[in-house]
């Protein structure tokens, strides 16, 4: 059993779209966080986590960068704003997407990280 998973592996296994930040697909994922409140993510997410949200504006990139998150996963078919995607390319932090709602995709990500990759937390 591995204890890390690359963003690229998560993307393949869950058939996610990659909107931007492709250069960051080799980042390691250490866990996940789900929230649409930016201060909640700022205060409680950890470095290396994949962040599931429906927010699409540029400030999500500021948070991802300041917190050293592995990637942002936009749920429910949301797409990043143009300047958000540009910033993601610059920061090399991928923005991924799925049409699934947050609850469903969170379950899948949790299952993959916990059971396939053996990541705790």
């Amino acid at each position: 059993m591995m204890d890390t998973m690359k963003v690229s592996e998560l993307t393949e296994k869950l058939d996610l779209k990659v909107y931007s930040g492709r250069k960051g697909l080799s980042r390691d994922i250490t866990g996940g966080y789900v929230s649409d409140l930016l201060s909640d993510v700022m205060g409680n997410a950890d470095a290396g986590e994949v962040w599931l949200t429906l927010q699409t504006h540029k400030n999500i990139m500021a948070i991802a960068s300041l917190k050293d998150l592995a990637a942002i996963l936009l749920v429910g078919g949301n797409k990043p704003d143009e300047d958000t995607a540009r910033q993601s390319d610059l920061e090399e932090i991928p923005i991924l997407g799925t049409s699934l709602p947050a609850f469903e995709v969170a379950g899948k990500v949790y299952d993959l990280l916990k059971n396939d990759a053996g990541i705790q937390g």
């Binding site: 930016l38 201060s39 205060g43 500021a62 948070i63 960068s65 300041l66």
Partner: protein
């Protein structure tokens, strides 16, 4: 004898301009990383400075962030021109916010900003004058052991 280095930084913050929110904090993070400051200290500084920066963007007309980093601590002072805070004690409560609907729709204004700042700093001072502005001054010790020691007391 080693020279005592003191780094001073200054950033203008534009009220209402969310596209630039976080810029000052990312610059501070870069400097602290270059100085090889303890990772936990950097993380706490970044959370506190980002929240304070966003508060100016969300509530004030304009502001300035003054940063001083010396071997002991990072001190961040934000001075803004804005509506001020009528009741600081109330503003410190988790969940209390006066942010506009549009700011809340972006995921800001959850009433977690000031509590996040409080949690992540070693000293915090807030002075405010209604219809004039607010001054927020925070200190984070560079030695993580010092925080733990003072918290136990």
């Amino acid at each position: 004898m080693a020279e005592v280095e003191r780094i001073l930084l200054e950033y203008n913050i534009e009220g209402g301009n969310f596209t630039r929110a976080g810029y000052a904090s990312s610059q501070i993070k870069k400097v602290l990383k270059q100085m090889q400051v303890d990772l936990g200290v950097i993380k706490r500084t970044v959370v506190a400075s980002y929240e304070a920066e966003v508060n100016v963007v969300a509530h004030a007309y304009s502001g300035t962030m003054y940063v001083a980093i010396d071997p002991e601590a990072v001190c961040i002072e934000l001075v803004d021109e804005g509506p001020g805070i009528p009741d600081i004690e109330q503003a410190m409560q988790e969940g209390f916010s006066t942010a506009s609907v549009s700011v809340r729709e972006m995921g800001f204004g959850a009433g977690m900003g000031l509590p996040n700042i409080k949690k992540n700093t070693d000293h915090l001072e807030i002075d405010s004058q209604v219809e004039k502005g607010t001054r927020v001054a925070m200190t984070i010790f560079l030695d993580p052991a010092r925080r733990n020691k003072e918290q136990q007391q």
